[in-house]
């Protein structure tokens, strides 16, 4: 394994299999626990940020489990023998640009036969969905599909030329974030990497960055990835994210409504598009942040957002507020009146709110509280 990686001079994320067997999977990893002051558990990733990363094996065989792959990556590829970091593909899968594009999609519903068999839809380690048995274990076909999904994420990043280059002068965590950010480029699966990134930031007690990543991970219907369920299942992340949100809330820009539908109306520039689609357009350069203006009015030094979805697009794409195309509509009679009415119907004060739920993918999902 190490030789293969060294063959790439230890610099490039080459898609080499991460852990071909259990012994290598744990090599070095046990010696490093991520310390974290926040008591946060992300169930679906199998990762206890407040303590050790959890481990598991797939129920179908004795191969390293999917959770192992993700957790091991998060935990790091430190080779204790050489005291060097292995440079690996975060998901440890063969190189093949954007494979399985049409065959990795998460299930939305069960067939009648599956229902009769007692199967249900569960949450996969990356926050998507998969079909599980009564023990909440994925059925073998779903493990195969999940692996295709991982290959897709990995392949897409490299197809974009977003190859991860390990920086020996940077910390492990910095390299990790960089690698994870690549995953955010894959259409429909951005929330995965964003959420994973948030988890890592939380593990470092970096609430502000975690908040940004978490907001970027706000699940959006319209994504092929059924990411809408992330924050629902990852509800346990809320305690930590609420701190993150407070940091984000350090911004004076506030929402004027408590919910927002995922899709833009037909009347505007982004007619019919979803927040996720536009965020991807921003990430891939199809759109620039200046193409997504955000109108606001200012009351008592608080910037109250008028274009809620546009602001969510920018946050979802990870654009810092300093780079937003903010349009001040303070004093405009129509906008002032609209914001006043909107705040009232949402039972909000003129301080607005930092929390919003994106609707359109089910109740009680997509929350950022």
């Amino acid at each position: 394994m190490a030789d293969e990686i060294n063959g790439f001079e230890g610099l490039f994320w080459d898609g080499t299999v991460l852990f071909p067997d259990e012994s290598e999977a744990t090599d070095g990893a046990e010696s490093e626990n991520i310390e974290n002051p926040v008591n946060v558990v992300v169930n679906q990733a199998g990762i206890d940020v407040g303590g050790e990363l959890q481990s598991s094996t797939d129920q179908s065989d004795n191969q390293p489990g999917i959770i192992d792959k993700v957790a091991a990556f998060l935990k790091g590829g430190l080779n204790t023998e050489t005291q060097t970091y292995l440079v690996v593909d975060p998901f440890g899968l063969p190189a093949d640009p954007a494979p399985h594009e049409d065959t990795w999609a998460d299930p939305d519903e069960l067939t009648e036969q599956q229902k009769n068999d007692g199967l249900t839809i569960g949450i996969d380690p990356l926050g998507g969905t998969w079909i599980v048995n009564s023990n909440d274990d994925p059925i073998p076909e779903e493990i195969d599909r999940f692996n295709r999904k991982l290959e897709y994420i990995d392949g897409y990043a490299r197809a974009l030329g977003k190859t991860f280059v390990y920086d020996p002068n940077a910390s492990f965590e910095q390299n990790l974030h960089k690698a994870l950010e690549l995953g955010g480029f894959a259409p429909g699966v951005g929330a995965t990497a964003d959420l994973a990134n948030a988890v890592v930031y939380l593990s470092e007690g970096n609430y502000k960055e975690a908040g940004y990543s978490a907001i970027a991970a706000v699940p959006l219907a319209g994504d092929a990835f059924a990411a809408g369920r992330i924050t629902n299942k990852a509800g346990k992340v809320v305690d930590g994210l609420s701190k993150a949100a407070e940091e984000v809330a350090g911004s004076s820009i506030k929402f004027t409504q408590t919910t927002a539908s995922v899709r833009f109306s037909r009347n505007g520039t982004f007619s019919g598009k979803t927040i996720g689609e536009l965020a991807n357009d921003l990430r891939t350069g199809v759109l620039k942040s200046t193409d997504v203006p955000v109108e606001y009015i200012e009351r008592d030094s608080v910037k109250l957002v008028v274009n809620t979805r546009s602001s969510l697009v920018l946050r979802r794409a990870g654009i810092p507020e300093t780079e937003w195309n903010l349009v001040n509509k303070t004093g405009d009679a129509f906008t002032e009146s609209k914001v006043t009415e909107r705040l009232a119907r949402n039972e909000l004060t003129e301080e607005g709110t930092d929390a919003i739920r994106v609707t359109g993918s089910g109740k009680n999902v997509s929350s950022l509280e």
């Binding site: 009347n267 129509f334 609707t359 359109g360």
Partner: protein
């Protein structure tokens, strides 16, 4: 012009899954909207306006300030210029200028005699 809310629409336009539509049948018109219900499923409701003489939709770009007062509510416009276009006598005939403003979708107006709340 005065705008008075006469029925507060429970479902907020910010949760609509697509643009509202106006469907006409005989002399009636129904303003139909789809939204995310408590279960998370998409639900549909409609407000029926009876004996409709005219209807129109104005996008936000063309809206006037007074229309905002009809925010997410069935409202009645008093001293309506629009209704006067149909003759001074239509008020005596029982017609009212109803307006509903759905945030982001615009104003939906009906010159009608009565309306029925969504079921």
């Amino acid at each position: 012009m005065q705008v008075e809310k006469v029925y507060i629409i429970k479902e907020l336009a910010q949760d609509f899954v697509k643009d509202p539509q106006i469907k006409t049948t005989d002399n009636n018109a129904m303003l139909i909207y789809e939204y995310e219900g408590e279960s998370g499923d998409t639900e549909t409701k409609g407000i029926t306006f009876n004996d409709v003489l005219a209807s129109k939709h104005t996008t936000e770009m063309g809206m006037e300030v007074y229309m905002v007062k009809a925010y997410n509510a069935v409202s009645v416009v008093e001293n309506s210029q629009w209704s006067k276009e149909f003759g001074e006598s239509i008020t005596e005939q029982g017609y009212k200028h109803f307006i509903v403003y759905f945030d982001d979708f615009g104003a939906y107006e009906f010159l009608a005699k009565t309306f029925e709340k969504p079921e």
